[in-house]
């Protein structure tokens, strides 16, 4: 069943996704993509009369992160006067989720506190085995080498291991709680669930506290050891260590200053918070062992309504690692490129998407006509961007390491662009077959990057050849896909020019720099593109507008996307920085937006203000905890579909860094004047 998270937390081995009422939706161990061990895991209260599930609609919730950490606070309020305060954190080193429940009630309660879980250990409901060790008070469920355990302080006083979906329904832990007491069955096999119970004796205004540890390990022995050791530590100590871990990690970031953001209420603080949150999210999407990233935590593992998101795409991850590099974390580039070297296909290209360990993932892009050539272009481009920031010995070592991969990738791009524009393949939205502006731009950037690296490696001939092809691709794209209306066509589909306005044409400017504002004509092209995208793809919601992917988009109702909106703002902010300050001679046949009656300063201000509007729109569409989704529901204005999406986070980081640069430049200019 599709359930989108409102919050995520974890450490290097564990990723947990939760709903807004603190119900666990996903428990990924030991990788972010596999295995997901939880079907349901939630607390409930038996009032003495009836069972109240904390995930039910009758509870109101407020959920947020503890500032600058991946520690979560969830407060639940029930009409009957019960209040539950949940603190969730994952230990920074060991894969154990720690959940502290503080329960208060306005009225006296003599009932039970239950913690119910339906684990699918090993991501399967089959052949699981569960037991309650009453000596150590550990509830364990396992399958092969995956072991998930529940321990508590204080000890639970009753328990049940039962069949989750069987004709012998009375053993089902979920139903066993209904009468307020558990049967204490100690072990079972198959598709099973479990519950732990505690007496809940609350005087009016009183508080009860329960701490639940949900840990994972590769063996029973290790699980026991982990749970025993961690449960000896005071919660305050673990909390402080965890908080310190996140604060320390964030302290390495590129510091923002954002001077002079007056006139935008609280925006500066909002951007600081969003920047930190995006970084913390990307940490959690990354596989520390392999260097790859999931696009988003998986929420549709049965591919009921989409192809799933819990895999690594080179396109998304190239954006993510470059954003991390720009914000002070270059090591993610290095790790990812090592992974790329391992995962490159024999023809020099990269596959549509991968499991985090580098195995090819389920795909609808198995052939030359259905592959996505842009992923190869984007990867080579990102490698070159990373290379350019390295210095000295590190530079040489990196080049040595990636050179063969660069060579193979560039030759693949050469093979697929003999006529200038690329051969037919699938577009970046994974929907259409044909020739696409975005894909051509990524190929251009990939070949230019490869050319630069070849030159650095003393391969002048190759450098010339690849650069020449890159320029050919650029010229062919402009000649065949630029329209008089002032934008690039989406591409050529079924042999026909498709004039649909598609936000991905922005890729010709950012990130791939196929066209540059330094060239007066190309500068005009960029401005016209921006105007046309705003005009044709704006969707009004949340007191502003978001940008949908392309005209007549029907994927998940054709919502506006955070990705495309932040892509537009990135183009605007980049242009504000790139615009040459001196007046240029314009072709009189063009009506140039912005500059028609405006000077340089006004143009920069307008671009910056509009960019800020887009950023604010994206933040308004985030979850209550600040997670950026892929989309925003066009009817409700709420976050939609993949949450959190790594690409959205990386674009937010890019935007904030650009805005910071604009602010600093402006502040510098003010000082000078």
């Amino acid at each position: 069943m599709i359930r989108q998270p409102n919050v995520i937390l974890g450490n290097d081995e564990l990723l947990v996704t939760m709903g807004r009422k603190g119900e666990i939706l996903g428990y990924f161990y030991p990788r972010r993509d596999h295995a997901q061990h939880v079907e349901e895991s939630v607390a409930c209260i038996h009032t003495g009369e009836k069972l109240l599930w904390t995930s039910d609609n009758e509870w109101q919730s407020i959920q947020n992160y503890i500032e600058d950490t991946n520690i979560v606070s969830t407060k639940l309020y029930h009409d009957s006067g019960i209040r539950i305060s949940i603190l969730d954190l994952v230990h920074p080193i060991v894969p154990v989720l720690i959940r502290r429940f503080k329960i208060q009630s306005q009225k006296k309660i003599s009932g039970k506190f239950f913690y119910y879980s339906n684990f699918n250990v090993g991501e399967t409901s089959k052949k699981n085995s569960g037991f309650c060790d009453t000596d150590t008070r550990l509830l364990v469920q396992y399958w092969q080498n995956y072991h998930i355990g529940i321990y508590s302080i204080p000890d639970y006083t009753e328990w049940q291991i039962g069949k989750a979906m069987d004709t012998i329904w009375w053993t089902n832990s979920k139903y066993d709680m209904e009468d307020g007491k558990l049967q204490r069955n100690k072990e079972d096999i198959g598709n099973i669930n479990n519950a732990a119970g505690w007496d809940l004796e609350l005087e009016a205004g009183g508080t009860n506290e329960f701490i639940i540890f949900i840990g994972a390990a590769s063996s029973r022995r290790l699980l026991y050891k982990r749970m025993q050791e961690i449960s000896k530590l005071p919660l305050e100590y673990i909390f402080e260590k965890t908080r310190e871990h996140w604060v320390m990690w964030l302290s390495r970031k590129q510091v923002l200053k954002m001077p002079g953001l007056e006139g935008h209420d609280n925006l500066r603080q909002e951007l600081f918070t969003a920047y930190n949150r995006a970084l913390l999210v990307l940490y959690l999407l990354n596989d520390r062992e392999y260097g790859s990233f999931v696009a988003a935590p998986e929420f549709d593992s049965n591919f009921e309504k989409c192809g799933g998101y819990g895999f690594c795409w080179n396109r998304d991850t190239s954006e993510v690692v470059l954003a991390l590099k720009h914000s002070g974390y270059p090591e993610y580039c290095e790790m990812f490129f090592k992974w790329c070297i391992q995962t490159q296909l024999s023809d020099g290209s990269w596959f549509q998407r991968y499991w985090l360990n580098g195995d090819v993932a389920p795909s609808w892009g198995n052939f030359d006509y259905s592959t996505q050539i842009d992923e190869t272009g984007a990867t080579l481009y990102a490698m070159d961007v990373y290379y350019r920031i390295l210095e000295g010995l590190k530079k040489a070592e990196f080049l040595e390491e990636v050179w063969v991969s660069i060579l193979r990738g560039a030759e693949y791009l050469m093979k697929r662009t003999r006529s200038g524009i690329h051969e037919s393949c699938m577009d970046l939205w994974e929907t259409y077959y044909g020739v696409f502006t975005y894909t051509n731009a990524s190929i251009y950037a990939g070949l230019m990057g490869a050319s630069h690296l070849a030159e650095e490696n003393g391969e002048a001939g190759m450098a010339r050849r690849w650069k020449k092809r890159a320029e050919f691709v650029k010229q062919a794209t402009i000649d065949r896909l630029w329209l008089q209306e002032g934008y690039f066509a989406k591409g050529v589909i079924n042999g026909k020019l498709d004039k649909t306005v598609d936000a991905s044409i922005l890729g010709t400017y950012v990130p791939f720099r196929m066209i540059s504002p330094k060239d007066p004509i190309e500068k005009d092209m960029i401005q016209f593109m921006i105007e046309n995208i705003k005009k044709k793809l704006s969707v009004p919601i949340n007191l502003s507008y978001g940008i949908k992917r392309y005209e007549n988009d029907s994927y998940i109702n054709g919502n506006p996307w955070v990705v495309t909106t932040l892509w537009l703002s990135e183009a605007m902010l980049s242009l504000a920085l790139d615009l040459p300050s001196e007046k240029t001679t314009l072709d009189p046949s063009y009506e140039i937006p912005y500059e028609k009656e405006e000077g340089y300063d006004e143009t920069v201000k307008k671009l910056t203000d509009e960019g800020i509007q887009c950023i604010k729109w994206a933040l308004a569409g985030a979850t209550s905890t600040g997670l950026l989704p892929e989309q925003v529901d066009q009817s409700t204005g709420k976050p939609a579909w993949a949450i959190p999406l790594g690409w959205s986070g990386s674009l937010m980081i890019d935007n904030i860094l650009l805005l910071d640069k604009i602010c600093r430049r402006k502040a510098g200019n003010s000082k000078e004047s």
Binding site: K126, D166, W169, T171, N172, Q183
Partner: protein, 269 residues
Amino acid sequence: MVRDLFMFAGFNESSQIVWFKIIYSKEPGSLSSVIDFLEKENAFIMFGHLDNITQKTGEYSVFTELNKDVDPGDFAQKIKELAVVSEVDYGISKYGMVYSMDFPLNVIGVRGVAARALTIVDIIKTFNQNAPHAEGLLTISGLKGGIHAAKYFKSILNLNDSNFASVLAELYRGVGWGILEIDCNPETYEGKVIVKDSFIADVYGGADQPVCAFMSGYIAGYLTEYFGKNISVREVSCKATGKKVCEHIISPAPSGGTSQEYQFRGETR
């Protein structure tokens, strides 16, 4: 089109809901003479519909509210004595399972829907063919419905050992699920339920295994809620497997704890 549904708004202890199926000859004024008779005898007509059987005969099915004192058998006999009437069948609703004053239809206190048996059986088949643990899933789905039904009846009438079985039987008939014969000892919680014309087994087609897990679950839920004790109901014989009727065995569920008997099914299967 909604047919054969009781229509009334609540449980009235001084009256009874009686349906009559009247076969009459289609002569000018013949139907009017039937209706006039019902009115004259103070049978309040709540809902009725007509069917053509042949060019010469028709069927008039009518739901009436009769005073509690009236003997429905005698009343049916009187209808049969009318010159235009050839046959009369009748039945009584004691508990009022289904009613519909207006949209939407209401079934035992909450919104109901009418569906072709095939539609529901298609859902069941899809589960059986595709979902792991389909039998358990259907049992648990039924269980919930049965629990809700018993809760509802406990809230509107005095559900007791003398009527809990007939209430369930009337419900099954009212919603068209089947004709129940229930033999259950409320002291030992043991017994059996015969389901004639189970809508699932009727429509399912041939099967190697019993297919009415949803009904077993429903009955289990109803009895569990009524008795306040976990009740196991398992289908041991099913019309879909070629038997004449479906048979479900009722027994107290084994208690859990450290007992191992249920894990490997023991006697419960």
